[in-house]
Symmetry: C2
Subunit: 224 residues, 2 copies
DNA sequence: GTTTTCACCGACCGATCGGTCAAGTCCGGC
DNA sequence: GCCGGACTTGACCGATCGGTCGGTGAAAAC
């Protein structure tokens, strides 16, 4: 039972699914993440689950559907997941919360996340590809809104908003390529460090308030 | 001829190769980049080149060798390429030059770069995988050296060096997922913007020198 | 003029791919 | 006792995979 609940942890939003389906989604996610969609055969998935290949087709109509269930679980609700974790307060703190929440999502649904961001960055399925872009844009626009908010409040300087969003998302999205769950910090802690670096900058020196600008209370300046 | 020289641009360090080999490497790079290694068949490559599949095996011993030639051309010399473009001067400017040079490399060998970073992040070929990690480490350690230099010179504050390196590389490595060569800035310009954001920070306010620290002349503070 | 070399091709191979299907097992309700 | 439905299987399918093989035609070497 502990094993099943562990597996459940890796699969997002599959509440109504049976244990077997959850097991398939978990194993498929791991395989898609490490070997890619094309590099993973239905036989691989069946073998990893200790079941026959036919059984996969009893629970899913085809390989694409397995991938879709894995990927949908990891990206469909990312926006909602993050949005609900943004507290009231200074805009810069909202940006930090955005980064930490995204990192938490990554930690919780790591394999599904990797599977969905690695495979199919040019999806041959046009409808699915378009839907993916829509979700990505909604997520990215949400972040841009927070950045604009912080600029309007005078907490951050007048930077290029889309480019700033890309920098922040890059720091989070690339994490799966080097993150090692057995070492170092949690994804949330890493996101926090990155926020500090990006917000306060690397440059040595001491910040003084600009006349007319609101005093930025947010963000910590810590040495490591 | 112009067509051949254009193709040559996308393939690094294949000086001694024939035009046909260069064409195969260029087309294979594009295909590997957009569909992945497993998702690209030898028939796909042959079709894209307008030749028979047999001819691929006349010029290369197998599929792996084509991939290796594509990937090696893109990563083997990255370290040397970047190292030779680091000027003498303030350490922070070296970091900036590092970022701009990496971006230039990305622009010049875009498809090969994407192919080599997308496919095989868990390479089944153990020797090749180890070699790749070695090259990556050498590149990353080079950057860490520059960061440490900047800290010792008092140009940047006492941040966590490996984590700072990861932030910088993340901003560059994720670029291929959103960069559009037809729009906006060049990769070098983007790298320059990212350096400004990371070095100076997003936070509004004015920097004053810390007593005892060398005055950081490097890095520009610009609004966009 | 003959032979060697080399870029190139169509036909073919065994293995594996995603996917199907008829048949069996298990199990609670009657 | 048995019946219906959920779960599970091994045998099998056509298509495609990476890779091989014998051969062609033209230019280079002799």
């Amino acid at each position: 039972m502990t094993e099943l609940s562990t597996m459940k942890d890796g699969v997002a939003n599959q509440a109504e699914a049976s244990d077997r389906v959850l097991q398939i989604l978990a194993e498929a996610g791991r395989l898609f993440a490490s070997k890619g969609f094309e590099g993973t055969s239905m036989r691989d998935i069946a073998l990893a689950c200790g079941i026959s290949k036919s059984l996969l087709y009893h629970h899913f109509s085809n390989k694409d559907e397995i991938y879709a269930r894995v990927a949908v679980g990891s990206t469909l609700e990312l926006y909602l997941f993050v949005r609900d974790r943004i507290p009231d307060g200074p805009p810069s703190q909202k940006i930090r919360a955005f980064m930490v929440a995204t990192a938490e999502y990554f930690r919780r649904y790591r394999w599904a996340w990797i599977a969905s961001t690695t495979a199919f960055w040019n999806d041959p399925d046009r409808h699915r590809h378009k839907e993916r872009l829509t979700r990505r844009d909604r997520f990215e626009n949400f972040l841009r809104g927070l950045i604009q908010e912080a600029i309007d409040a005078g907490e951050i300087r007048k930077v290029d908003v889309p480019m700033t969003g890309r920098l922040i998302l890059s720091s989070l999205n690339w994490m799966h390529r080097w993150y090692n769950p057995n070492k170092s910090a949690t994804p949330e802690q890493i996101a926090d460090i990155f926020f500090d670096m990006i917000f306060n900058g690397l440059r040595s020196g001491q910040l003084v308030e600009l006349p007319g600008a609101e005093p930025p209370k947010a963000g910590r300046r810590k040495s490591r």
